[in-house]
């Protein structure tokens, strides 16, 4: 008897593509949220495969805090032009200028929370009814119960008690006017799966994922990149360090890790031996035990 076996990465890939196609089929105005991070790069790759040889039939949307790593923006623009996709940028600075959002104050000020406002405004302005994102269930405990098709009410809020059961491969994207969905095709992937998939497919990544020398500041056990957006406490010093990033977010809240890993294979070995989760490098999750759950309820990614 011939055995028909798929390895787990191909099964996850097929599942993600299935969910992406379901989104294109069930919704009128989907969009793909693109941060320039590795998960959203994998998402773009999967979306290309899902519709090949046609182009991705929806725009990429970047919620720009204005505090990005410059490497991410360079990478984003190159990718978009290579694949001929449409890019829409929702700017947090615009939201602040329009008075829709107020900049946080203090030493740990971050625009992370403000992204939610810009995101919801961008969704409303463009009438997006489904936003694809690269979030995974293994990232954080509030995400462990997230659905592929995650329902949001007319205020963009996530109600954990009011989520639809997802059975077999039947995705229910029916909605009332004003409601929308967040869709997470990578739900069942782990950080390791993402890295192995990137290696298997030979995907390009922004350079900050690989070890490099950078001016950094140590704060509360985190290594933050020195930048114009980070104000220092009197006792804090800028040091030159050999670091890389495990996740890519806003410069003010994404911590680097000391690492010599300069290739994909180095990184995979490092992660396998690692004893902290990648979200351990994010100060935004440490604000309270339910920081992620609270932000999700408000409409965060």
């Amino acid at each position: 008897m011939i055995l028909y076996n798929l390895n787990h990465l191909r099964i996850l890939e097929s599942e993600a593509i299935y969910v992406i196609r379901e989104t294109a089929a069930q919704f009128e105005r989907p969009a793909l949220l693109f941060s320039g991070g590795k998960d959203s790069i994998v998402m773009v790759h999967l979306a290309r495969k899902a519709f090949f040889p046609a182009r991705i039939p929806f725009p990429l949307v970047h919620i720009d805090t204005g505090h990005n790593f410059p490497e991410t923006i360079t990478f984003r623009d190159k990718l978009v032009s290579e694949i001929g996709a449409t890019l829409l940028v929702g700017s947090v600075q615009d939201s602040i200028d329009k008075g829709r959002a107020v900049e946080e104050k203090g030493i740990n000020a971050s625009r992370n929370m403000l992204q939610t406002i810009t995101l919801l405004d961008t969704i409303e302005e463009n009438k997006f009814d489904a936003c694809l994102g690269g979030a995974r269930r293994d990232e954080e405990k509030a995400r462990a119960k997230e659905r592929f098709f995650s329902h949001r009410d007319e205020f963009g809020q996530w109600d954990p008690k009011n989520q639809r059961p997802e059975l077999w491969n039947l995705m229910n994207g029916k909605k009332n006017i004003g409601e929308h969905f967040r869709v997470f095709p990578l739900s069942n992937w782990t950080e390791m799966d993402v890295w192995q998939y990137i290696a298997m497919e030979g995907l390009e990544l922004p350079t900050i994922y690989f070890a490099h020398d950078r001016d950094c500041v140590q704060r509360d056990g985190q290594i933050l990149s020195a930048s114009d957006y980070l104000s220092l406490r009197p006792e804090e010093k800028i040091e030159r360090m050999h670091v890389r990033y495990r996740t890519v977010g806003d410069m003010t809240c994404t911590g680097a890790v000391l690492s010599p890993a300069s290739t994909l294979s180095d990184i995979i070995h490092e992660i396998a031996a690692s004893r902290t989760t990648e979200r351990g490098t994010r100060t935004d999750d440490k604000r309270s035990e339910t920081a992620m759950e609270d932000r999700k309820k408000q409409g965060y990614f």
């Binding site: 090949f52 509030a142 119960k145 639809r164 229910n172 069942n188 690692s274 004893r275 902290t276 759950e293």
Partner: protein
């Protein structure tokens, strides 16, 4: 083997399993142990749990806090939803659908079971087979989970007694003889002490079988997929608006079952037209000439056909001589998932493979008492968490197989047309 080795990692299989249990049967401890022993719990997660345990004044680190994610749950100390957990060993990647086992969460158990290849059922050695064991086993059978592992837990509290184990096994076999389950394994364990979870127990020399982890890693799953009946529900039609691909028309979808090859004669439902598969684009290359020789479930692919046929989402491509049932009258078992009871003669939207339709509830035949497994012929009130046999009539013919034969083409969901909520999970008979 080393998990970090890329080649080995590429050869890993995927096993999805479901666990059901109540707070005190040691389920969280067992999951905690599987995650911990496979190094899937990280220091920061453990620290958070230690911190919370301390604040709550617990004497020990409560591993249940790792799996009880949401605020409401932590406050009430219960798990109210399906939570997904991940761990990997060098052989397999595992997805656990962790569900609460209490009767009021039957719908969550059904949800978790719907995608599982294996069910892990926990039995407290001191208590033996309980009502909830019946319930979990019945759901595993109803949802046609191919493999069941019954863990007789807390063996340390019954002096690792072989007699207790044997008695529980024969009790369980009595129960399973009334169910439609095929592959059942029994393991005596102590999740707390670690006996027979990852390492073989020295306390039970009388047990010659495998440890839980060994079984999870080695249980034969490659024949769980149906590779006989060719079913390809068309999910999306790809028509590039580019001169280069002017005449390209591809049918995208995930193969529900069977094996498709270029050159195969196929039939398109509902039109009944026949054609031949011209090419199958796989997903591992963004290159139009890089086609493959065969495609099988659960691959997502894009097919092109020899002739121009009118095909759209919701149609199904099948082999000429092996067709699903085509009908508007459908018998099924259903698990009700909504607080609003099922309306006799009510109308609902349905989703089946990639097809949308509407239906009317024609007949409620009986309800199942899932604790005693009795049929309640006179009880026609189907509320949340009830399981019943019903007949529906759909507005359009559906192309289906029995759920027993095909979990993809045999499953259907009912949707409330006012709220758009998923209210019923149906398994076609």
């Amino acid at each position: 083997m080393d998990i970090r080795d890329l080649d080995n990692y590429h050869n890993m299989e995927l096993l999805r399993f479901t666990t059901a249990g109540s707070v005190d049967d040691g389920k969280s401890t067992l999951i905690g142990r599987l995650l911990y022993d496979s190094k899937s719990i990280f220091e920061d997660q453990l620290e958070a749990v230690e911190r919370t345990s301390k604040l709550k004044g617990f004497e020990h680190v409560d591993l249940a806090l790792l799996t009880d994610g949401l605020k409401a749950e932590r406050e009430q100390g219960i798990t109210i939803d399906v939570a997904y957990r991940y761990f990997a060993t060098p052989k397999r990647k595992f997805i656990i659908a962790d569900t609460p086992g209490h009767i009021q969460y039957t719908r969550n158990m059904v949800t978790g079971a719907s995608t599982a290849n294996l069910a892990l059922i926990l039995v407290d050695a001191r208590k033996g087979i309980l009502e909830q064991t019946n319930r979990h086993s019945f759901i595993a059978s109803l949802l046609q989970i191919p493999h069941i592992i019954v863990c007789i837990n807390k063996m340390d509290l019954v002096d690792y007694s072989q007699e207790v184990f044997d008695r529980t096994v024969s009790e369980y076999k009595k129960l399973s003889s009334r169910l439609d389950v095929k592959d059942v394994h029994f393991i005596p364990i102590s999740a707390l002490k670690g006996d027979n979870v990852v390492d073989k127990s020295e306390n039970m020399p009388w047990y010659q079988g495998s440890t839980l982890m060994y079984l999870l890693e080695n249980i034969h799953i490659s024949s769980d997929e149906n590779h006989i009946d060719c079913r390809f529900p068309v999910q999306y039609v790809i028509r590039p608006q580019a001169t280069e691909f002017h005449d390209f028309r591809g049918y995208a979808g995930r193969i529900a079952s069977g094996v498709f090859k270029p050159g195969d004669m196929v039939k398109i439902l509902p039109s009944g037209f026949t054609s031949r598969i011209k090419s199958i684009l796989p997903l591992h290359a963004l290159n139009i000439t890089d086609t493959i020789d065969e495609a099988f479930s659960p691959m997502s692919v894009t097919m092109t056909l020899d002739t121009d046929v009118d095909i759209s989402r919701g149609d199904m491509i099948v082999r000429e001589n092996n067709n699903p049932t085509v009908s508007q009258d459908i018998d099924m078992m259903i698990c009700w998932m909504s607080e609003k009871p099922m309306m006799a003669n009510g109308k609902y939207a349905v989703k089946h493979t990639s097809k949308d339709a509407r239906c009317i509830i024609k007949e409620i035949r009986y309800k199942v008492d899932i604790n005693s497994l009795h049929r309640l012929e006179n009880d026609k009130n189907i509320g949340m968490n009830d399981i019943a046999r019903i007949q529906i009539r759909t507005t359009l013919p559906l192309f289906f197989d029995s759920y027993r034969k095909n979990r993809i083409t045999g499953s259907i969901i009912l949707i409330d047309e006012a709220t758009n909520e998923t209210v019923g999970a149906g398994m076609i008979i």
